[in-house]
Structure formats: C-alpha cells, structure tokens
C-alpha cells in the first residue's frame, strides 16, 4: 500500500515537472512569435518592388543628395549618422536589414524601428504607443498599424495639422433659433 502511494507521488511529481517545462516553453514561444497582422506598408505607388530598378544598378556607397530618383525623400532622421543602406539591404533591395544581418520584409519593419526605439517598441507591442482599431476583445478583428503608417520613416516628426472647427458659442447664430 505504501509503495503504491510513493509511486503515485512520483508520477505526480514527474507530471508536474513536465507541465512546468511545457508551460515555460509555450510562454517563450508566444513571446517570440507574437504576430502583428498589419495592412500593406504605405509605399509610394509603383515604387515596390525596389529590385525592378535596383537589380540592374551598381551600388554607390557614397552619402549624397539624390537628384534623379527619390527626390521627394527628405532625410531628417538622425541624418548626420545615417544613410539609406543602414536600413535597406544592399543585395536584396526588397528587404530591410537588422543589425545582426537578418533580412526582414517591409511588413515587419517594426522590428527594425524597435532596434533603436526600444521603449516605444515595448509600448507598441502592448498596444499603448500608436493606434489600434476594430475589436479589442472577443472574436472580432483587430487592426495593428506599422510605425511607418503614421511616421514617415525618413522624416518621422509629425507636421502640424489643421484643427476641426471650435464648437459654437451659446449665442452663435447656429445655436439660436
């Protein structure tokens, strides 16, 4: 009887350990593989894929003012230390490049932004920085936005906007019969 009891205890212990390990793995997997389904990145029309022009071009590493193409891009994003090829990959122009050399799609560009803006990236993943629309709970769809949907990656600072009109005052014409 006692033996049986000890055996049972052992199996319970073993089960508990297995469960613990499993739960640890699953939580890790969830953390790493959190996916953010986003709408297509905001490309200028007809500009993507980049390789359709760049494949046949020679790489010019020199930092310079662009005169023939991409003339509308104003670089105001730590421009003293940065150049196109710090983020865009040289060999595969349709991809972005992380510090560790990993190539990512434009739909994952938040990972690239997060390499410098870590605290904002943490908030963005939690849904605090930036905007979410749709359903926040239940089965409905929730829409995430990339950093680039709101900020121009080359010039991330927001421009001033025109406000909506102020409310009518109590004695305004539109408020009195």
């Amino acid at each position: 009887m006692e033996l049986k009891f000890i055996k049972m205890q052992r199996t319970i212990h073993a089960l508990a350990i297995i469960l613990l390990i499993l739960s640890a793995f699953s939580s890790l997997a969830l953390g790493a593989g959190q996916e953010f389904p986003v709408p297509p990145p905001p490309f200028t029309e007809g500009i993507f894929p980049c390789s359709q022009c760049h494949a046949s071009m020679e790489t010019n590493w020199k930092k310079r003012e662009l005169k023939d193409e991409h003339t509308k891009i104003r670089m105001h994003h730590a421009e003293t230390m940065r150049w196109c090829l710090d983020c865009h990959d040289v060999k595969n122009r349709d991809k972005l490049r992380l510090y560790n050399g990993e190539l990512i799609n434009f739909t994952e560009s938040h990972r690239l932004c997060g390499e410098c803006h870590g605290n904002l990236y943490r908030d963005w993943r939690a849904g605090i920085h930036g905007k979410r629309t749709g359903y926040f709970m239940g089965t409905g769809k929730r829409t995430y936005l990339l950093c680039a949907h709101c900020h121009d990656p080359h010039e991330p600072k927001f421009k001033r906007v025109i406000p909506e009109p102020p409310p009518f005052r109590p004695m305004d014409r539109q408020n009195v019969k």
Binding site: A126, G127, I128, H129, G130, K131, R132, T133, G134, Y135, F136, M137, G138, G140, C150, F158, R160, V161, I162, P163, E164, P165, P166, P167, F168, R169, Q174, N175, V176, K177
Partner: protein, 301 residues
C-alpha cells in the same frame, strides 16, 4: 340627514380622487396617443423582456419615419467580468478635435440650433494643468499643436462614485454593472440637477428637438446610448456603449490620429488600460472630490 355615515374623511378622499382624475384626463387627452404611451412608459430597468421588445419595435418604426433609415436598436446587457476604463495620453494629444466630431457622428448628437458635443477639448497654458478655470475650449488657431499649450480633452469620466446619479430625483440615471453611467432618456424629466452636480461638465441638455441631418444619422444604436434623443433629455458620453459591449473600441479611440486614446477592461490584467495604470504616470481629474473616475490621464515616461 339620510347619509349620516358619509364622514368628512370619506368625502375628502372621494373628492380628491375624482378631482385628480378629472384634471389629468384633459392633460393626457390633449396629447397624442403616442405621447401618452411615452409618458406612461415604465423605467427601462423595470421593463420585462416583452415590454422592451414592444418599445424597441415602436422606436424603430418611429425612427424609420423620422430619418428614413432602418435602425438596429440594441438592449444588450453588460458583459460579465467587465469594468470599462479609459486612458488618455496628454503628452501626445495635439488638440485637433477629431474625436469631438467622430463622437458626434457616432452618437447622433444634435448638430445645429443647439450643437451638442460630448467631448470638450480644453486648451491650457503649458505648466498650468491644474488651473482648469483658466482653460479655453473655443480655441481656433490655424494649425495645432501650438507652442506653449497643452490640450486636455474632457468627457464623462464614468465615475465609480457618480455625483450625478446621487442627485437624480427620479433615478433616471444609474450605473450599469460594467461601470457605465447610463441615462433612460424617456424617464428623464429634464430637471438638470445632474448637470449641476457633475464636476467635469460631462453632461449636456437638449434645449430643443435635436437636429441631425438624415444622411448623417448612425442607425446602429443602443437603447441606453446613442439612439436619437428628444427635447428635454440629458445626455452624455457612454464610452460608446453600443460598441464596447461588442468588444469594439469607442469611436473617439478609433478617430484619434496620434493614438492618445486607450481603452480596456479594468478587471483584465492583460488589457491596455491595466498596462497603463501599472507602468505610466497616471492621474485622474479632480480626484479630491472622491468621484473615483475611471478616466485615466497619463504621460509618456
């Protein structure tokens, strides 16, 4: 005398009953049948399911005649295990008033000859956030944000200890189980005690029949929320009760271009609002009044 048993007390009782009936008959008969029905309608919380269905059918018919649209009026109850809370990041708000007009469109507020808004964006001098009496909400610069100013949008704060509910003499306003303070527009008599009691100016009054252009009416409504109101009813922000009870973000959250507005369930430890309360510098407006508001302003930190 033959009717000696006819005491004075009995006479007064009978007389007063007949007088009351006689007085109220012409009053009620001077109204249309529909108005009489509205007047005698029961309080929303006391209605049975059957009565609710009848009232909804009647309202849908009336709105169809008035606005030419098929309305969907929901009477959805509060979801279990929910307490709604709101977050607003002051360091990001640029005062563009997009939320104000998105709210008006969603919630069928009157547009002209008494324009009613549920959100009021206050402009304050930077570094002067506590002096709300120095604020300005008619500001109209060419572009925002202006240098040297901060913007503080104020709407109903959905207090957990709501002063407006306490003062209502007829219980036309009450707190739902999910924390939303609701108004039964039919039951409201328009005394406006609640407007006087609210320290946030969160409530507005329909001084006249509301004017909503037919093409701008939102036909997806909730009985306690954005259904078109009538003259003499008090109304206010309901955290978009018709949306949040389906798990959808309120209209102002979706309209904000800077993503300053956040929403979530305070009882869910994984919700956005709990993340904000646990990790950001948070304050509530006029906390000293013990209103226990569920509207959290926060800063980037």
């Amino acid at each position: 005398m033959s009717n000696k048993d006819y005491t004075r007390r009995e006479f007064i009782r009978k007389f007063s009953v007949t007088a009351l009936a006689g007085l109220s008959l012409p009053v009620l008969s001077s109204c249309s049948k529909e108005e009489v029905e509205d007047f005698l309608q029961k309080h929303f919380r006391e209605m049975t399911e059957e009565e609710k269905k009848q009232v909804i059918a009647k309202l849908e018919q009336r709105y169809f005649e008035q606005y030419g649209r098929k309305f969907q009026i929901s009477t959805q109850e509060a979801l279990p295990e929910t307490l709604w809370g709101y977050g607003l990041e002051l360091s990001r708000c640029i005062g563009c008033r997009k939320c104000v007009y998105a709210c008006a469109n969603e919630n069928n507020t009157s547009r002209y000859t008494r324009q009613l808004h549920w959100i009021r964006v206050l402009r304050l001098k930077r570094g002067n956030l506590i002096n709300l009496e120095d604020s300005e909400h008619y500001y109209a610069p060419e572009t925002v944000p202006e240098k040297g100013f901060v913007y503080l949008p104020v709407q109903c704060q959905q207090c957990q200890n709501p002063p407006c509910v306490k003062v209502c003499p007829i219980h036309a306003t009450w707190q739902e189980p999910d924390g939303i303070v609701a108004v039964d527009y039919n039951w409201c008599i328009g005394c406006r005690y609640c407007i006087a009691a609210c320290p946030y100016k969160g409530r507005v009054f329909n001084w006249a029949e509301p004017n909503i252009p037919k093409d701008q009416v939102n036909p997806n409504v909730h009985y306690l929320g954005n259904r078109p109101r009538m003259k003499c009813a008090v109304e206010k922000c309901t955290f978009c009760i018709q949306r949040v009870r389906q798990g959808r973000y309120p209209a102002c959250v979706e309209a904000c271009p800077t993503g300053s507005r956040k929403f979530g369930n305070l009882l869910d430890p994984k919700s956005e609002i709990r993340y904000i309360i646990e990790r950001k510098r948070v304050f509530r407006l006029r906390e000293e009044l013990n209103t226990e508001s569920k509207f959290y302003y926060f800063f980037e930190s």
